[in-house]
């Protein structure tokens, strides 16, 4: 419908001129959504023989680190679907999440806004299975934004933005209430420590492992061996059913959140061990989806994006993900926590085997997707923190980047802990953990019983443990990617950057309205999903 409107306003005859204007000035993006029927050699993006915006597939990984793939420098990780995407598409080296923990990072992706605006902060940082809060319905997700353009949206896999509100079956916060038309197999909560494959479920915690189909619980605990296949089947089914529609699909993997798992087919196969097996299983599923897009002949009109939600955990048991070359990890705002592996794929449009060093954020996904769907569209009803990176997607490698004068802010809960600004990283607060150092007694920690380990883990990663840095620590991220040597706070250079950043921070701070914490809303045992009470065990598929 959206596209019909544009067609009326922009007769095909005018399209070429308008495209040239847009190309030269970067504004006047009047009718670009049409891509006209006319073949042009430059830029490739506009030469597609289609009259509508592309489909969107987002592959979202859980707790996977920047250094976890071969194309990102892992020495022994096997080749995966993600590496294939990089070979056939564009790999990003500076793609950030504003928060390095699950629930807020997912809110940022879906809304294009700092999660503090939606109240996605609070004690524990994430929703648990008895939480009454969730992503507020007033927020507009990508799925909702695209509905206006005639897109259909689907999701499978991890959600982690709330489940119930009033009772344990209302599903008030689930994706069907956030614009997703097709909700298949989902983990409303998260893969978690209690759901260990080949082990007894931890007493009193096995009820935290459950699978939904749309708004209904179908499996508790989760059969992890078949989980990835389920998600893949959902995805293939959705894509096939809607190959002639325009769609947005979020394939949200539980990999590689602890407890690590993999199907028998992958188990014990990776040189890296269980972590590599898990990466390989996810990579296999991604590869299958890409193959299917090609088979259906819709690859050239599908923009796919792989990314993680934040850095890898350093479990300290010798089976960790890698955030290298960066310092830090999940729940910290060092680069290792907030810089993501991210790869885009769009055959015929994106230059194969290209690399982008542009500074981007998960906040940018919503505006990018909306611009690709409809170049005329302006979002004016609410503050969007991201900006479209359509130009980055289509530009050839070697084209200079825009001056990265835009600051990116990083939060732990509702505290602004750090910022990326003009090739520098500035830390106002830092996590006090030192996970990069040697863990001599790691084996002892690893054999610790799981509930104790979880308690220790949660305490360690708490925002309350962040240490104030006054003066703030500043690093030059180009000459010092490892955030190793802090710049001299007395230098003019340091002062200038801090002063300029302060101005932007003040503007940012003023734009943040105080909202209620969704995560601090009551957590009640009565809200916990439970099938076949009081046992809370079922498998309705069998």
């Amino acid at each position: 419908m959206g596209e019909n409107k544009i067609a009326k306003q922009c007769p095909v005859g005018r399209t070429v001129l308008l495209i040239i204007i847009a190309g030269l000035t970067g504004v006047g993006i009047g009718c670009l959504a049409m891509w006209s029927g006319i073949r042009m050699s430059f830029p490739t993006y506009f030469s597609r023989e289609t009259t509508s915006g592309p489909n969107f597939v987002i592959f979202l990984a859980d707790d996977v680190g920047y250094g976890d793939f071969q194309v990102y420098g892992h020495p022994i990780q096997e080749w995966t679907g993600v590496d294939r995407m990089a070979k056939e598409g564009k790999r990003f080296t500076h793609f950030y999440t504003p928060v390095a923990v699950c629930s807020p990072s997912r809110a940022a992706i879906l809304t294009g806004r700092y999660p503090v605006r939606a109240g996605i902060f609070g004690h524990g940082q994430v929703f648990v299975h008895g939480s009454s809060g969730g992503l507020p319905r007033r927020e507009v997700t990508i799925a909702e934004a695209l509905k206006e353009e005639g897109y259909l949206s689907g999701i499978t896999g991890k959600w982690h933005l709330g489940i119930n509100k009033y009772n344990n079956t209302d599903g008030y916060h689930l994706p069907s209430h956030h614009g997703f038309d097709a909700v298949k197999t989902i983990l409303p909560f998260s893969q978690n420590w209690a759901c260990r494959q080949h082990e007894s479920y931890i007493p009193g915690m096995s009820d935290s492992c459950f699978l939904y189909e749309n708004d209904k619980i179908i499996e508790q605990p989760i059969n992890l061996g078949s989980l990835t296949s389920k998600l893949l089947n959902d995805t293939i089914h959705f894509i096939t059913s809607h190959k002639d529609d325009r769609f947005f699909y979020l394939m949200s993997f539980p990999q590689t959140h602890e407890a690590l798992f993999s199907n028998r087919r992958f188990r014990g196969m990776s040189k890296r061990g269980p972590y590599g097996d898990s990466i390989n299983e996810m990579g296999w599923a991604i590869n299958e989806v890409l193959d299917h897009l090609v088979k259906l002949g819709i690859d050239s009109k599908t923009f796919a994006l792989f990314l993680s939600d934040h850095g890898a955990v350093r479990r300290g048991c010798g089976e960790d993900g890698s955030n290298r070359p960066f310092r830090g990890e999940k729940c910290t705002t060092w680069e290792g926590g907030v810089r993501l592996p991210a790869v885009s794929w769009w055959p015929g449009v994106i230059e194969p085997n290209s690399v982008s060093h542009d500074v981007l954020s998960t906040l940018d996904i919503l505006p990018t997707v909306v611009q690709l769907a409809n170049r005329q569209r302006r979002i004016s009803s609410r503050i969007i923190d991201g900006k479209s990176f359509v130009d980055v997607i289509i530009k050839k490698e070697g084209t200079p980047s825009d001056a990265a004068d835009r600051p990116l802010f990083f939060y732990c809960n509702n505290v602004l802990t750090a910022a990326r600004f003009r090739n520098h990283k500035i830390h106002y607060y830092t996590s006090n953990q030192s996970s990069d150092s040697l863990v001599k007694e790691g084996h002892a920690k690893c054999s610790m019983d799981t509930p104790k380990r979880i308690r220790e883990y949660i305490a360690q990663y708490s925002c309350e443990n962040f240490v104030k840095q006054d003066p703030p620590l500043m690093f030059n991220l180009e000459s010092d990617i490892e955030e190793h040597v802090a710049l001299n706070p007395k230098s003019q250079h340091y002062q200038k950057i801090l002063t300029d950043l302060k101005k932007q921070m003040d503007i940012h701070a003023m734009s943040i309205e105080e909202v209620e914490s969704e995560i601090n809303k009551p957590t009640l045992p009565t809200l916990k999903p439970c099938c076949d009470p009081p046992v809370c065990m079922c498998n309705y598929e069998e």
Copy 2:
């Protein structure tokens, strides 16, 4: 001459059969040096239309880290000749040096033997410009080993295996006395802190920066702006002159040893800063040499190998190289000190864009080169610690590796500090520096005057500062590439590995004959090279 002899022993008619036997059994390498005139499709290596072994070009970098190139995962390093080699050839992920400091690491490359056998250990770990010791003439270098096969050898760039013995002009230890027929521009000592570009030379230290042509000093201090071009000209000249001969050429770069430098053409161009400029200048020279080999039409009969001598220094001034994803650095025997970026290139023979995870060592270069030059040749006059990796070079990606039951030992001076054994790393002693941690006062350290910094640096990296680990630390390098979590010394797994390794260590230890330290031999001011005394400044080229 060597090749004529083989031709006599092996009539052409028998070659095919013998090759097949060799392929099946891995032994019986009777006549493979001939490569016969018959075209065969498998393996590629044997199908070359040549009747002799290939040329050898080794590009040796100084202090460049594993993570310093784009193909090894550096996020912002520009594309270089090294990345080109990886794209057109084979990249190694497990290539080790037995010692993580210059003089011994270079002795290992040239002799195929642990440097402790040649006496390349001692206080300070490296030769200085007044040293009377050097690589003993009894050692047989690659250049000498290849002489028997009719090869000509050339060298340009850094040597660092001794200069003079009796007076400051005898050049007793220089490369011309170690089998190199053509010695052009060389740095007999090393690029060093005193040789800072665009800065006053450090009082009393400028005499440590000098350039030789063969056995004669030609420039003191060094004009760093033209240095790389000089080395490139030497290399191009040698290769062109000997394009119809069989040759071995060592292009030994001063990059990226402090003081960092680059020509005006590269300066300020890298996104990374001066370190990236330095990498780019070296990469440019490598690219030029490759282009020249192609232009001369001898690329398909030239085996080129790029490698560093050991891991990068962590200067702590925000302009460091990257050893990521590994822990540690130069002068430590953590992976970051001993694992090297290494790439091989041989158009038409090596599978393009391939990656090898085989565990290799710089000790293996000599036997590999000798086997490629003459497959019949057996080295029996002395202990060679390395083994040929010809099979790794020619095999297709995905072919299983040999079981890596061979231990690789790592030394600091004459102390065996660590070992790589069956995918595990075992540390008997570890460096006590913690360079991976945050350097809050780095700016203060960086503005420290250079002689003081050097003293502090040398003290910090001394072998005397290594700390004994009892029980030894053990890491699983596959699931824990960062040497982060030590395994439980009480586990059966740990005990088994340690016991098996002990047997191999005993054999190794018994094979080491006690020899005099070359580095501890007197260091005398009268041995320091000095042109135009007492000023010690000249430029005989101008």
